[in-house]
């Protein structure tokens, strides 16, 4: 499995997992966090197939969703699928770290999810 180069933040007081970064815990306002990486497979929480893309994308469409990893990290990612009709909320997804877009020919890396 490729290394997923995002860092999430687990509150050292109440255990709430944050991604992206916050200076204080959203639940208890504590300021100390343990840095953690997404672990295990992910459960698809919601998704959409977008046909009107923003500047910088040449694809015909993008499928994007939010998934929750086994250690509680929730994150957005692009989904490898041909059609949103092939997906369901609650599916198990495998995450990888791959180019998600190109800016002036240079790849920008991020999360991709594939149904297992």
């Amino acid at each position: 499995m490729t290394e997923l180069k995002i860092t999430a933040y687990k509150c050292k007081k109440c255990g709430r997992v944050h991604y992206p970064k916050h200076e204080r815990c959203l639940s208890c306002k504590h300021r100390e966090f343990e840095e953690i990486k997404p672990e295990g497979n992910a459960t698809l929480l919601t998704f959409t197939q977008i046909f009107n893309l923003p500047w910088g994308f040449d694809e015909r469409f993008l499928i994007i969703g939010v998934a929750q990893f086994e250690n509680g990290v929730k994150a957005m990612g692009q989904i490898k699928a041909e059609d949103a009709a092939d997906l369901q909320v609650g599916m198990t997804m495998q995450a990888s770290w791959e180019p998600i877009r190109y800016i002036y020919g240079e790849p920008v890396y991020g999360l991709k999810f594939a149904p297992m």
């Binding site: 500047w55 910088g56 994308f57 929730k74 957005m76 877009r101």
Partner: protein, 397 residues
């Protein structure tokens, strides 16, 4: 704190306004509001301008300084307020606070956006810049995409159906067709966008499960209003003063993923609660509302979150005609963002202007909510992470 009244309003038709610059539009709506307020050649103490994208779309900064000069309102204080699609609501709120505090007496608030001078590709990217720069934006997520993800969950949890969304689109475009300020003046039918085999061509998927006619257009436009203490209103105008009875503003997590329940529009709920408490009114007291229907799902969800309907009942109410003119609570009689259009910085001001016209009883019969005394607006920034609510009240003289 002083009671604050809206004594003048102005708007220019929304749409594609190739002939006008952003500054032209702000100036035209402002002059209408100043004249409507009866200010004549008198000055104002301060000018607040709601605008989200001049820096990106027009490569222009300091639009409030430019406007106050264009209007010859010097040396009035002037500042632009950027708060995403809630920029207009935030500008009105800051104007209200300035007058309520006693620091300024007469304040002009204008909101404007010029979005059609860039391609749709660029406009979509511009709007997407409000998403999280690390955890959302790089993936190509758009605001329709955020709404699509929200809709999927809201449908599952609260029983909203595609037919309910279609009803909102049809209603708002019917009302827009009657509104001379609306961007979209075209009525649509259920057969054309939903029932016919050709509907997939007429109304293709945009951000699944949302389709083309679930989304508002990309618009140019501007609206403005003038505020003063309620007890000074009669010095300027014979217009029925409209009291800003209450406002509320609340925020929520930047990313949708971090919300405990992404279908709970917490900022809408809290902003409305604050406004109702301040106004000492309840949802049952509201006679007309302008909700932020950038997507049809939002009109239904917001109608539930402000308290007009219980969770799961907003879509059913729309199907039964309860949100139409003549219904229990007419929503988006202007056509809403769906038909009036959504020049992002203008929208929050335009919503207030439309409610002022309703409460003045100044609209033609086919758009007037008879006898309306109290109105509500919801201006929804980000994807619900910064929301401004106003409750306005007609003051009988």
């Amino acid at each position: 704190m002083r009671d604050v009244a809206i004594i003048g309003v102005g708007m220019i038709p929304f749409g594609r306004r190739d002939q006008d610059t952003l500054l032209d539009m702000l100036a035209y709506s402002s002059m209408k509001a100043l004249d409507d307020a009866g200010l004549g050649d008198k000055g104002v103490d301060a000018v607040y301008v709601g605008n989200m994208g001049a820096g990106i779309l027009q490569h222009q900064s300091s639009v409030a300084s430019a406007l106050v000069d264009r209007l010859s309102l010097l040396p009035a204080a002037a500042e632009a307020i950027e708060n995403g699609p809630a920029s207009g609501g935030s500008a009105v709120k800051n104007g209200v606070l300035a007058v309520a505090s006693g620091y300024y007496d007469v304040v002009l608030v204008a909101g404007g956006e010029k979005m059609r001078e860039v391609t749709g590709w660029r406009a979509t990217d511009f709007v997407a810049t409000m998403t999280h720069p690390e955890a959302e934006y790089p993936y190509g997520i758009t605001l329709p995409g955020m709404a699509g993800m929200f809709t999927r969950l809201y449908m599952q949890k609260h029983g909203v159906t595609p037919e309910m969304l279609v009803e909102v689109a049809i209603k708002n475009q019917e009302m827009g067709a009657l509104n001379p300020y609306a961007h979209v003046e075209m009525m649509i039918t259920k057969e054309g966008i939903f029932e016919s085999p050709h509907s997939i061509v007429n109304n293709p998927p945009a951000a699944d499960p949302l389709r083309l006619y679930d989304a508002c257009p990309v618009s140019d436009g501007s609206a403005a209003l003038v505020l003063c203490p309620l007890d000074m209103a009669a010095q300027f105008t014979q217009n029925v003063p409209i009291l800003v009875a209450g406002f509320g503003q609340a925020t929520d997590t930047h990313t949708l993923a971090e919300r405990d329940d992404p279908t709970d529009l917490k900022a809408v709920r809290l902003a409305a609660q604050q406004a109702f408490e301040r106004a000492r009114l309840t949802p049952e007291d509201i006679h007309v509302a302008e909700l932020h229907d950038a997507f049809t799902i939002l009109e239904i969800a917001e109608s539930e979150h402000v308290g007009f309907f219980k969770k799961g009942e907003g879509g059913k109410a729309a199907l039964k005609g309860k949100t139409r003119l003549g219904g229990k609570i007419p929503i988006n009689v202007s056509g809403g963002l769906k038909a009036r259009g959504h020049p992002v910085g203008a929208t929050g001001v335009a919503q207030v202007v439309d409610i002022v016209w309703q409460l003045r009883h100044a609209l033609p019969e086919d758009r007037q909510v008879k006898g309306a005394q109290n109105g509500l607006t919801i201006n929804f920034g980000g994807f619900g992470n910064n929301v401004v609510c106003f409750i306005l009240k007609r003051v009988e003289q």
